[in-house]
């Protein structure tokens, strides 16, 4: 970014480019507010971001090197009479913890050993045959330090030009594959790095309910035009040691081979009867949903599907909640496909960026690698009058929206720290190979032995999040222990690590990452020890959908502008009246927009061309 100064006055300044912040930015710009949207990071979307494989490695290194904290500069010289300063925290380092990386593939492609077996064969091999490769790391405790050391090494490089890709020969975050003889491996680590640009690995794992508030908002605001979507093609569940497909749509029920015809009828009847609330339902409101399901004489199969995969609740969830969640699932079904879910092509990180783009189109100004270091508060009114950015410029504003992580812990309402456990795997085959290799699956793993229920999303290359021949698997649950403790048992049950010659034909894990992320669901936008016109946006929550962030954004917007509509449809370009050549606030906006656009979508352009058929467009509906 050019070193020139920013305008010194805005209506709304927003720090952090997570989903809620970006939606607020779009909503404010859309109704004519002057918005400055900054993020200290070099990338958009904060903990909602998607990374290429290489960028993810850089991110890992940054997290591990986080110890060097920024020096707090004294800005008191900019304070005027009757004002005081609130310093913001330099980074949100606390949100990610327990990060561990494992690599199960050899570094080199196999040319040396089997010259014929080059990369061209990558798709030919049978899926189940994982490489007999010792995991590069098994002892998490020891390896962590090792990693940290290595990461520090690579840090200099990473600290350089952020937007650029790390080079392929950059030190790996994990120990290089050790001595043991690789037998046959289709995809090597080198290849993962070489083709790393074709990965889009999300930090959060969520899906979009097709009648959820995010999809509604995307349609309503026309932001959907900036993205493409894929249907999640099937819902799977892990049961009795194997993966089964959950029949949820009419077509699935019809085609299901596991259900008897009587079960089919019972399931369909139950689903149909759920749609409307009846007196019978109300009678069960205060009792567990499981009890209600038992009463319906559905049998074990259907009960499992309904509880774990359709309602996605636990055994002690109340009927009222269970039914509401079942209804939500059913309402979403069939709007765009045979499951209730959509997934954005190129990953979830696209979504906050789409809103940023909308904000930029309506004049929002964007700066990455740019932060707000402190707030200037008017002592009398306890309102934030201005902010001081990381370059020491004083920028006055009427409202300030900030990502939770930038607010010092001393100023926040103490909430019990809840964490999410996450795992990201790159695998070589689907957990349930089907007719098509391009399935996008949600796998529900019910809770066992005190371990929480795990949501697993398996993305195929059709979502443009991984390279052909691989699948990208995201696991998420509420933390009980560390991410590794919570999720590795599930991973070991369902996948083979490359060390074992797998007899059950489970997919092999090529590479995986575990980490914990702060659960944003506990953070409130207000009530903190902050000026009344400062609003806090939480990071991602653990739910599968996006309701939390969208609701939060809407409530913040309504506090800033109680009279205005939240994200009204953007007008068609031909209906916009442009003022003459004379400079007007609009045209300044337009100029800045260019910048915003490139920042947000530089890579997007390129992606568009790679785009393949069959994206779901949100527009043509009903």
């Amino acid at each position: 970014m050019a070193a020139e100064d920013l305008p010194s006055e805005f209506d709304v300044v927003i720090l952090g480019t997570g989903l809620a912040e970006s939606v607020v930015a779009a909503a404010c710009s859309r109704v004519g507010q002057r918005v400055l949207h900054v993020d200290r990071r070099s990338y958009y979307a904060a903990n909602w971001a998607s990374f290429t494989f290489n960028a993810l490695l850089t991110w890992i290194q940054e997290i591990q090197a986080e110890s060097l904290s920024e020096e707090v500069q004294d800005r008191s010289s900019l304070v005027e009479e009757g004002e005081e300063l609130i310093y913001l925290s330099g980074s949100d380092s606390a949100s990610i913890s327990n990060l561990q990386v494992f690599c199960y593939v050899s570094e080199e492609a196999e040319e040396e050993e089997e010259p014929a077996n080059t990369t061209e064969e990558e798709e030919a091999g049978a899926a189940g045959e994982g490489a007999a490769k010792e995991p590069s790391e098994t002892e998490s405790a020891g390896s962590k330090e090792e990693e940290a050391g290595e990461a520090a090494e690579g840090d200099e490089q990473a600290a350089q030009e952020q937007g650029e890709e790390p080079k392929a020969d950059q030190p790996q975050p994990s120990a290089p594959p050790s001595q043991s003889e690789p037998t046959r491996k289709k995809i090597s680590y080198t290849q993962l790095v070489k083709e790393g640009r074709r990965f889009n690995i999300d930090l959060v794992s969520k899906l979009m309910y097709s009648r959820g508030s995010l999809v509604d908002l995307l349609i309503k605001s026309n932001v959907s035009r900036y993205a493409e979507f894929k249907n999640v093609t099937r819902i799977l569940t892990y049961r009795h040691g194997s993966v089964e497909q959950v029949p949820c749509s009419r077509a699935d029920v019809f085609a299901s081979r596991q259900l008897s015809v009587v079960e089919k009828r019972k399931l369909m009847r139950f689903l149909t009867s759920c749609v409307e609330e009846t007196e019978e339902h109300q009678a069960y409101n205060g009792r567990p949903y499981l009890e209600f399901l038992r009463e319906q004489q559905l049998g074990d199969n259907l009960q499992h599907f309904l509880l774990h995969s359709i309602a996605m609740v636990t055994e002690d969830t109340l009927t009222k909640v269970g039914l509401a969640s079942t209804r939500h699932f059913l309402r979403c079904l069939g709007r765009y496909g045979n499951t209730p879910f959509l997934f954005p092509v190129y990953g979830l990180g696209e979504i906050p960026q789409c809103f940023c783009r909308m904000s930029a189109v309506f004049g929002g100004i964007y700066c990455l690698r740019h932060s707000v270091s402190c707030l200037i508060v008017d002592k009398d009114s306890n309102r934030c009058k201005a902010v001081i950015d990381s370059r020491g410029q004083r920028i006055s504003c009427s409202h300030f929206v900030v990502e939770d992580g930038f607010v010092g812990a001393d100023r926040k309402v103490a909430t019990p720290t809840r964490l999410l456990s996450r795992a990201v795997l790159i695998t070589d085959a689907s957990v349930l190979p089907g007719d098509s290799e391009q399935q996008v699956s949600l796998v529900t793993v019910p809770p066992t032995d005190g371990r929480p229920a795990v949501n697993m999303v398996e993305l195929s290359p059709s979502t443009m999040t991984c390279i052909p021949g691989t699948y990208l698997v995201h696991l998420t649950c509420q933390s009980v222990g560390s991410a590794y403790e919570d999720l590795s048992p599930v991973v070991t049950r369902m996948f083979c690590m490359a060390e074992c010659q797998d007899e059950e034909n489970r997919p092999a894990v090529l590479w995986c990452l575990y980490f914990n992320m702060a659960d944003g669901s506990g953070v409130e936008p207000e009530g903190h020890d902050l000026p009344s016109n400062v609003y806090v946006c939480s990071g991602p929550d653990g739910a599968l959908g996006h309701e939390h962030a969208i609701k939060q954004a809407e409530s913040i917007f309504l506090k800033i502008l109680p009279e205005e509509e939240f994200c009204p449809p953007a007008p068609n370009p031909e209906d916009i009246i442009y003022d003459g050549e004379n400079t007007s606030p609009t045209s300044i906006g337009e100029e800045e927009e260019e910048e915003g656009l490139t920042a947000a979508g530089g890579e997007g352009e390129e992606k568009q061309q790679e785009q393949q058929e069959e994206e779901t467009s949100l527009q043509p509906e009903e």
Binding site: R250, R265, P585
Partner: protein, 583 residues
């Protein structure tokens, strides 16, 4: 507020749109007029192609322009070489494709595409198939596309098994699709034809007729495949019992037996010197080559149907020349030949007998059952079990109830009679909009049962009183009946088919709602007509009775007609043969 994007107001937009539309209309009309005048002048040039293309891309349903376009193309074919023609037609294909995007159900575009594809020197059928599949994936019920696809499949010779897999796919994604199910029903007999052995050994071959023609069972499918289809369709109707497409397919699976075409009965009456012939299906005896041979001598007779309103009828009669068979001491041998079907039936009129007939044993239950199925009883029984299972879960589903009734009829019509009636009662309650249909269907089944009972008893009396009949059917089966009792039903008329009861002597039809006697027509032996408490209101309604020469007794009590002035004298004039009139 400053900085807000300014948007045109609605009125401004409206006005702009209106102007836009006006401009478009002007261009359109001008182009249309230009096209018409060029066509009138017989000009077939590229410019005309351009013009029609412009117009059709905005309005692909302009049939005249498509015709003009074809005229031009036919002309170009004669003047261009093959490669150029290929190019022109390929351009046509991409043009129709863009028209289909405007209106995927445009008759004109699809037809034009078919026409072009057929004329294309080097057609690319694979491409066309892909196009169809794409269209069907957007709208799996676009019947234009289905039509076009059938043509493409035929022209390109797509293997039947691939097509069956195609229907599997479409049904898998949405089984509420008549087109797919129907397509299956045409493919299965080709792919899995029934083995030549007839599958129902219980069905006796008819005694005096030749073996069934090979096409009799051509729509049938081998049993192994049938069982798979039953499973598939059960999955559909258990998943959604209210979807009728699956039920219709199921009915097709269960019932594909066709009645054999034959002469089912020959009846001869010495006194009236009359022959009546019944066929297994309605025919036009005047055109199918029907001949009567008496003692080896071909007879010149004139066949007439039982009622002038029938051109096709299952019963035909003829009069023999006076005196040919009237001598009671002679034995006569008749043969009726149906030359078109290479079949015939003999009938001997023995000495001393006044009438005689020859026919198959009508006790054969298959007579009615064949409408539904010739499957093995065990298969039907297990089908009945599964549909009953569904009915337990969905006691009020009409398709389920109806199918149970049909299966019961196929299995044992008399044994299941009470259950059938109960199911009909439920049906009329749950689907009251179609209660009249169910009443008629129930009447039909009750008549079938009564005919079976009558045949078992080997009598010529047909009695079906107090059974809620709303309609009469299968009357061709009652050719030999002398006494019919239809009392206490809900009949409103005796339809023309009633005239097939050629041997009828006594008609009892008290306590109905009969207002029309059309079918009581030229019944040569009819003596007694009892119509107490019906709705006959005018003398004209009684007119048909005048054609029955032997009518002696007529009961009209409780009919509105009795209130007519001078009814007695009028009746005496209309029906002079009646001696016993009850008013």
């Amino acid at each position: 507020m400053h900085g807000r994007v300014k948007i045109k107001t609605t009125a401004q937009q409206e006005e702009e749109k209106r102007k836009e539309r006006e401009k478009k209309l002007k261009i359109y009309v001008a182009a249309r007029d230009a096209c018409f005048s060029k066509r009138n002048e017989g000009i077939w040039d590229d410019e005309a192609l351009q013009l029609t293309q412009q117009l059709l891309s905005s309005n692909p349903d302009f049939a005249t322009l498509w015709n003009y376009r074809r005229e031009i193309l036919l002309h170009l074919e004669t003047v261009k070489d093959k490669d150029e023609v290929q190019k022109i037609y390929e351009a046509e294909l991409s043009f129709t494709e863009s028209c289909l995007k405007v209106n995927p159900k445009s008759y004109g575009s699809w037809h034009h595409r078919g026409w072009v594809s057929a004329r294309l020197p080097r057609p690319d059928w694979a491409r066309e198939l892909t196009l169809c599949d794409r269209c069907l994936s957007l709208d799996d019920r676009n019947f234009h596309c289905w039509d076009y696809r059938r043509m493409v499949v035929k022209m390109s010779g797509v293997p039947v098994d691939q097509e069956l897999a195609f229907t599997d796919r479409l049904i898998g994604s949405n089984f509420s699709n008549y087109s797919s199910w129907h397509y299956r029903s045409t493919l299965l007999p080709l792919l899995h034809p029934e083995s030549p052995e007839p599958p129902s050994p219980c069905r006796e071959p008819p005694q005096s007729s030749p073996p069934p023609s090979p096409q009799t069972h051509s729509h049938r499918v081998c049993e192994e495949q049938l069982l798979k289809e039953y499973e598939l369709v059960q999955n559909a109707f258990f998943t959604d019992p209210n979807d009728q497409s699956a039920w219709f397919y199921y009915r097709w699976l269960l019932g594909r037996a066709e009645r054999e075409e034959m002469i089912s009965c020959v009846y001869v009456n010495r006194e009236e010197e009359r022959v009546a012939v019944a066929f297994s299906r309605p025919v036009n005896a005047q055109s199918v080559g029907l001949f009567l041979v008496l003692d080896g001598q071909p007879q010149r007779v004139e066949w007439r149907s039982v009622h002038p309103c029938f051109k096709h009828s299952p019963v035909w009669i003829c009069s023999l020349p006076p005196g040919t068979i009237s001598d009671i001491t002679n034995e006569r041998n008749l043969t009726v030949h149906w030359t078109e079907k290479h079949t015939h039936r003999d009938c001997a009129l023995y000495t001393g007998r006044t009438e005689s007939w020859c026919r198959d044993s009508a006790t054969d239950q298959e007579l009615f059952r064949s409408e539904l199925s010739v499957e093995k009883t065990s298969v039907l029984q297990s089908e009945l079990q599964s549909v009953k299972q569904l009915q337990e879960l969905e006691p009020l589903n009409k398709w389920c109830l109806l199918t149970i009734i049909l299966l019961m009829r196929a299995l044992d019509p008399l044994g299941y009679e009470q259950e059938m009636l109960a199911h009909f009662r439920t049906l009329k309650e749950v689907d009251s909009m179609r209660s009249a249909y169910y009443s008629d269907l129930c009447s039909k089944f009750m008549i079938e049962n009564t005919i079976l009972k009558m045949e078992y008893a080997e009598v010529r009396v047909f009695s079906i009183s107090d059974k809620n009949l709303t309609t009469l059917c299968h009357l061709d089966q009652l050719l030999l009946v002398t006494h019919i009792n239809l009392s206490s039903n809900h009949l409103q008329r005796l339809p023309p088919q009633f005239a097939m009861l050629q041997c009828l002597e006594v008609l009892e039809a008290d306590n109905n709602a009969i207002e029309n006697l059309e079918g009581v027509y030229h019944l040569p032996k009819l003596e007694e007509v009892l119509l107490k408490n019906n709705k006959i209101s005018t003398l004209a309604d009684l007119q048909p009775l005048a054609s029955c020469p032997k009518l002696k007794r007529l009961d009209l009590r409780g009919n509105p007609v009795t209130q007519t002035a001078n009814v007695e004298s009028e009746l005496a004039e209309l029906l002079p043969s009646v001696t016993d009139l009850l008013l």
